[in-house]
Symmetry: C2
Subunit: 210 residues, 2 copies
Amino acid sequence: MNLQPPKTRIQRKNTEAILEAGLEVFSQHGFRGATLDQIAAAAGLSKPNLLYYFPSKEAIHVTLLSQLMETWLDPLHEMKADGEPVEELLAYVHRKLQMSRDFPRESRLFANEIVQGAPRMKEALAGDLKNLVDEKAEVIRAWARDGKIADIDPHHLIFSIWALTQHYADFDVQVQAVLGPGRDPIAEAETFLHTLFERLLAPSRPSGPA
Amino acid sequence: MNLQPPKTRIQRKNTEAILEAGLEVFSQHGFRGATLDQIAAAAGLSKPNLLYYFPSKEAIHVTLLSQLMETWLDPLHEMKADGEPVEELLAYVHRKLQMSRDFPRESRLFANEIVQGAPRMKEALAGDLKNLVDEKAEVIRAWARDGKIADIDPHHLIFSIWALTQHYADFDVQVQAVLGPGRDPIAEAETFLHTLFERLLAPSRPSGPA
DNA sequence: TATTCTTTTGACCATCTGGTCAAGAACACG
DNA sequence: CGTGTTCTTGACCAGATGGTCAAAAGAATA
C-alpha cells in the first residue's frame, strides 16, 4: 500500500501517469471494459510495474472516483447564499458547462459509474453529495421564498443543471453526430442554457432592490 | 443465421427471452461488462443453447440496439408540424419522460453505448437520428419564425429534452440517493419539466389567433 | 566503490470468457 | 410408431485478463 502522498519524485510521476491513463481508459470503456494492459500501455509502464504502484485495477478506479468527487462538487460549493440569486445560479451553470468542456473524461467516468448503478459510489452519493445538495437546495428555497427567483423545486433545478451541462460531455458523440461538423456545441450550449435558465428562474413578480 | 421473424413458437419464445435477458444485463453492465453466462442464466438457458439462437454476444447487442432505435425515435416522430406548437413540444417532453419511467433499461442501454463513444451506433446517429432531428428542427424553427414559440436553437432544444428526461432513467441511482426515500422522482419531474419548458418556449410577444 | 533501498520486468499462473462441437433429447408429422 | 428436424447440453478450447514473484536493473547513500 502506498502512502497517501507519494514520497519520491519518481513515485509521484508514475502514480500521476497511471491515474491519467486510468482516467483515459476507464472513461472510454468503463470499469470492466478497461484492461490493465491498456492502462499500463497508456501510462508507458509494464503491467507488473503498474501493479507496483496500485495494488489492483479496482484501486486505480476507486482513487480516480474519490478524487473526482471533490472536483465535481466544487462548482456547487462555490454557489454562495449571499450573492445575487439569478447570477449565482447562472454562474453555476456556466462553471458546470466549462467542466464539460475542460473535463469531459471525468464527466464520462462519472456517467459510466452512475449509469451502471454506482456500485462503487453509492455511499458517496447518499453522503457527501446528498448533504451538499440538500444544503444548497435550502439556499435556493430561501431565494424563492424571498421572491428573488421563481418558485421551483430546488432539487430538480439542480438535477436539470447537471443533466443539461453534463449532456454535452457524456453524449458528445451524439451531439456531434446530430449537429454535424464545423460547430462548437458547448459555445452554442452556453447561449442556449443562459436563455433557458434566465427564463426559468425569472420570478413571476419581480421583487427588486437595485 | 436465423430468419428475421422466428418461425416456430419455441424459437419466438427463446429469442424473446434472450433479448429480454440481454437488455437486463447489458443495460446494467455495458457490453463488455456483460457475460454470456449472465445473459444465458437470466434467460433460463444454457450458454450453448443461447448461442444456438444468436451467433455471438455482439449479435444480441446489435439486435437490441437496432430495435431500440425505432422505439427511441418514435416519440419525436409523433410531434406534428400542424399541431399547436407549445402543446406539441410539451407532449413530446411528456412522452419522453414516460419512456424514462417505462423503459429505463432501454435508456441505460443507449446511454452506455453513447457514453462509450457509440462504437456500434455511430452510423445510426449520423444517419436516421440526424435526419429526423434536422427535419423536426426545421418544424420548430418555423414555429419560432411564426412567433408561436420563443426563438431558440431547435437542436439544442431537442438536446435539452433528451438530457432532462433521460437523466431520470440513466442517473436514477443518483436521483434516488439525493432525494432520499419516499419520493416519486418522475412524478415530480413531470411538474418541474412542464414549468421549465412552458417558460422556455413562451414567445416574447405572443402572436395569438384563437 | 560497496551497500542498500527503490523500481522495473520477464516469466508465469489461475480464472474467466466467448465460442465450438458432437451427441443426446424433444418435437413434428406422416 | 417411425423418422427427420429442431432444440439442448456437457465437455472442451483458445485467448484474454487480473494478478504474482523472483530476480535484475537503477538510484541513493555512504
